[in-house]
């Protein structure tokens, strides 16, 4: 295993210590009965709805890198690829509640869902903190059905956290902020492709072995194999494959037709080990393909936003936008990984 670390056991704690050292505007509550969690150093403005997210470690900058004005109030990192525990989530919620309640932004994985659900129950039973939960489930690589765990939450999390975070900053109500989060999720779809597996510090070896000329198509962000293994394809083909899967969703209009007037926020996120130069190539191809369908990219992110440790690969996320969403998108934000207007 080739990683910069001191030990698998201290991976998360050491990394959080680095986050704290690098970002004085954040405070990191250390591991323990009340942690770990990352929060803004400044207390929540009374009356402002707080946003708390979290999930397994290994997706940086998600979620700790999105804590700050205009986005999250706190993030709860679990162990690598392991959801945080209820006590930790509850502690974060209590720490950042400004009296107006807390929105949990939860990626749809059984572990995250159950642990946040237990935290919400504890909050209801033992504290006065009102909680609403927004489930993020944007990954179209997962064939959804009522009988399964449903789609995974991936790239749309960034959009949900940014846009609902901006609404919270305006002083809107718990219900409204949560509804906005749900709306952004409903408007968003993702698809990812991997060129290599990732290696968890605890496991020490790649989750799977991929020959030089193959790629995993429809992967998630936890190192699991994807829907299928295919021959390595050009950037153009990879972008087409991902966008075809995403645009098959009725959300983006009838398939095969030109979509005059459809506007999207587009993200191409690296999965951890793919350099920016390649992400721009994918974004170029994606923007060509969308232009062909008359879908306009009105805002975009290209970079490492939702990653999977050291996996080489990229995810594509589109969020169908409207004026309200765009206004909230453009609102000032000041976090380690997303910053503008401040």
């Amino acid at each position: 295993m080739k990683k910069f670390l001191n030990s698998a056991e201290s991976f998360v704690a050491d990394s959080l210590a680095g986050l704290a050292a690098a970002h004085p505007a954040l405070r990191v509550q250390a591991e323990g009965p009340d942690g770990p969690f990352v929060a803004r150093r400044a207390a929540t403005q009374p009356g402002k709805v707080a946003l708390v997210s979290g999930g397994g470690y290994g997706h940086e900058p998600l979620h700790g890198g999105f804590v700050g004005v205009g986005m999250l109030d706190a993030a709860c990192p679990g162990e690598v690829f392991t959801s945080p525990v209820p006590g930790q989530i509850l502690a974060a919620a209590q720490a950042v509640d400004g009296g107006a309640g807390v929105v949990f932004v939860v990626k749809n994985y059984t572990g995250d869902v159950l642990n946040f659900q237990m935290a919400a129950e504890l909050a209801a039973e033992d504290t006065g903190v009102a909680v609403e939960t927004v489930l993020v489930d944007d990954d179209v690589a997962v064939r959804d059905s009522t009988w399964t765990a449903g789609r995974r939450g991936t790239g749309a999390t960034v959009f949900v956290e940014k846009i609902a975070g901006a609404l919270a900053e305006r002083g809107e109500s718990l219900a409204d902020v949560a509804d906005m989060g749900r709306r952004v999720n409903a408007n968003s779809r993702s698809f990812a492709v991997a060129l290599t597996a990732c290696t968890t510090p605890a496991n020490g070896k790649p989750g799977f072995l991929l020959p030089e000329d193959e790629m995993e198509v429809g992967v998630g962000i936890h190192g699991e194999p994807g829907r299928s293994r295919e021959k390595l394809a050009s950037a153009r083909e990879v972008a087409a494959l991902a966008l075809d899967a995403i645009l098959a969703e009725p959300l983006f209009g009838a398939q095969g037709e030109r979509q005059d007037g459809v506007e999207v926020i587009a993200m191409v996120s690296g999965l951890g080990a793919t350099p920016l130069s390649e992400l721009y190539i994918l974004f170029h191809e994606a923007s060509r393909l969308l232009a062909e369908r008359d879908i306009s990219i009105v805002r975009s992110l290209v970079g490492n936003y939702v990653t999977s440790l050291d996996m080489a690969g990229a995810s594509f996320t589109l969020c169908r936008a409207d004026d309200e969403l765009l206004e909230l998108w453009d609102a000032p934000v000041n976090t380690p990984a997303l910053r503008w207007g401040l």
């Binding site: 679990g78 572990g111 765990a149 190192g223």
Partner: protein, 229 residues
Amino acid sequence: MNTNDHGGAGGSAGTGLDTLDVAAGQDWMTAVAATVSAHKDELTELDAAIGDADHGANLQRGFTAVTAALSGGFEPETVGQLLTKVGMTLISSVGGASGPLFGSAFRAMGKQLATPEADADQLALALRAGLDSVRALGAAAAGDKTMVDALTPAVKAFDDAVAAGLGLVVAARAAADAADEGARATVPMQARKGRASYLGERSIGHQDPGATSTALIFAALAETTARAR
């Protein structure tokens, strides 16, 4: 992986325990912690194939925390208090899917056992409550390729043995065997719950990690009850 490598322990009704008291419950947890540590890498590898390669680390972290919680001056008066503590500790230390699921199973069992010494009938009811709580929380049905596929036959085998009057040692052994068989039966299943469900058909051909660790927990129970005190 054959999870039945519990090292001896025949389980003939004569030599083991008739009831599970607090001390035996603690022994059970010690045995679980040991077997989980011993099988950590295997659990992780099973999880790497169809999940996210953390199940071994998750359970080791959890049962290390359990061992610590039970040793640090904690003196439960009932088996229920013990198992509730186990459940709470798992919930607060494991994370992931298995933390809340195993955690609430132990909590549900704990609720049923407000006694310093549980007999086989009481344990049967408690195990059933544990299963019910996993099913209620995770919404997995039999055949979904989860821990439920080990837990369900294990609880049934335990029940059947108790109903047949065979006593704790035999019931625990029967449950362990059934859990192991149940775990192995997950291999050809296509997952419908948990991370493995994301793989669709590609989940077929792999044994479910949570079902496998469930079998380890039952093997530890069989081992503990079979041991002469």
